[in-house]
Amino acid sequence: MGQTFSEKILGRKAGRVVRAGEVVTISPDYCLSHDNSAAIIGEFKKIGVPQVKAPEKIIIILDHIVPAADEKYAQNHKTIREFVREQNLPHFFDIQHGVCHQVLPESGLALPGKVIVGSDSHTTTYGAFGAFAAGIGRTEAASIWATDEIWLRVPETLRVEFHGRFPEGVFAKDAVLKLIGDQGADRGNYEAIEFAGPAAGEFSLSSRMTLANMAAEMGAKNGYFEPDALTIAWVKARTLQEFEVVLSDPGATYEAVLSYDLSKLEPQIACPHTVDNVKPVSAVAGKPVQQVLIGTCTNGRLEDLEIAARILKGRKVHPQTRALVFPASRVVFLEALRKGTIEILSEAGCVIMNPGCGPCLGAHEGLLAAGETVVSTSNRNFRGRMGNRDSEIYLASPATAAATALEGKITDPRTRL
């Protein structure tokens, strides 16, 4: 009987053959945390061991509230920096680097066949590179720092097969929003989602990251793309570290197999206040929008900024609308700067912000007032997430966000390409 990717990778770690539903205790390859490391340090100190067990496995990336928005956040960052120095942690990224889910892969740490856990729900992103990557809590992260171990339930796997090609104006974000809208926000709860089918291999790594990132919004434990030549070339350009490609067996058992024809897709938008409240953009077109956000770990990469620039080039953001651009990382920012993308966006009237999470989680850098509406390329539209609880968040692709910025109302990007 064949095994899924998750069964194989967790079985190797556990040193025995495992099946979905079993619980294994394993030693992960990496444990990520961000600004919440300050809270993790507090938990770690309660355990009472002086040193972390495996410093080389701990990755800390400051991205959530950077630079510090007030003195409480400043104190958190200071506590973290002191701990990093005291424990001699080699993988520390201070505020200049960008969003953790972009910086970690760019630093050659998201590799095929690795087990990466992170104290952030969108840790699923690294499945784009064929890693087993799952979100955990802060207390668990503290326990890993102390013991280098975690318990994980081996997930069942939902396979999603993509066929066909995207029509003009339709992107990976639209595909994943359609999937979540059709299947519901808990369809993948406790499961692995394996993105496959002939079209999956044609997705750029950036697009694969968008899908694996949003797997969390279906409740999934992890997302997964089979590593291919594109993946191998990408990671080898960033690390000398050894890694092993782990693939699902042809006869693996899937909880279900879903099939999507991309050629039939139109631009999608998640409406307030749940990610699975998805409609075609055309169904809500015309709604006035006061703010547009292009960026985040979901859609802040070069291809995302470039599609926005293609739409906004030589034009102006609508006078009643603010457009904020958050490149996902400094690396992305520099690439976009050198290619002239940043100049186009700035000329169009976008506010170019520092790489980081920005207002996505509602802490700073562009929050909403009561009654305001935002179209964001991020991954969550829960009530109050980006400011006042009486504001509204719509989630869409960078193309839809850029077309909306131009018109000052929700706009189908196919009319603006």
């Binding site: 207390t139 409740g219 989680l361 802490a363």
Partner: protein
């Protein structure tokens, strides 16, 4: 037997409404976290919740962000247990690791309403409300050790002999 009241909510209660993101990265004491519990879903909750009360919800309770405060703030507010049809996986892990009881029970989730009296008997595995009794789905054996130790920190200390 101490009896609490039911606070009833629907499906997909997410961690942003249980504990808003605007407070997430500010370290705050438990009592202060309790004052923000459920703030964006039900502003009445934090004002009126009493020790021993139970939250009853539909499917996918705790979806969204991995923030642990969403479990910690309910425990700090005195919530004895959350009864739901299902839990989002990170929330389920966090709750266990922090000692908040998370009980899966479709019948109780369908039958109970806000304001109903409720009591949970963990050793018997039952939820009672008036003359109604419901059996809940037991926790997996592999995690019972963590709950019994009083949470993951205590469990880890024990494991390390500290």
């Amino acid at each position: 037997m101490s009896t609490g009241r039911v606070w009833k909510y629907g499906d997909n209660v997410n961690t942003d409404v249980i504990f808003p993101g605007r407070y997430t990265y500010a370290l705050m004491p438990l009592e202060e976290m309790a004052r923000h519990a459920m703030e964006d879903l039900d502003p009445e909750f934090a004002k009126s919740v009493k020790s021993g009360d139970v939250i009853v919800a539909g499917k996918n309770f705790g979806c969204g962000s991995s923030r642990e405060q969403a479990a910690a703030c309910l425990r700090a507010a005195g919530v004895k247990a959350v009864v739901a049809k299902s839990f989002a996986r990170i929330y389920f892990r966090n709750a266990i690791n922090l000692g908040l009881a998370v009980l899966q029970c479709d019948e109780a989730a369908d039958s109970l309403a806000s304001g109903d009296e409720i009591d949970v008997d963990f050793s018997a595995g039952t939820i009672t409300s008036g003359n109604r009794t419901f059996k809940f789905f037991p926790l997996p054996e592999s995690v019972i050790g963590i709950v019994q130790a009083g949470g993951l920190i205590e469990y880890t200390k024990k494991k390390l002999g500290l």
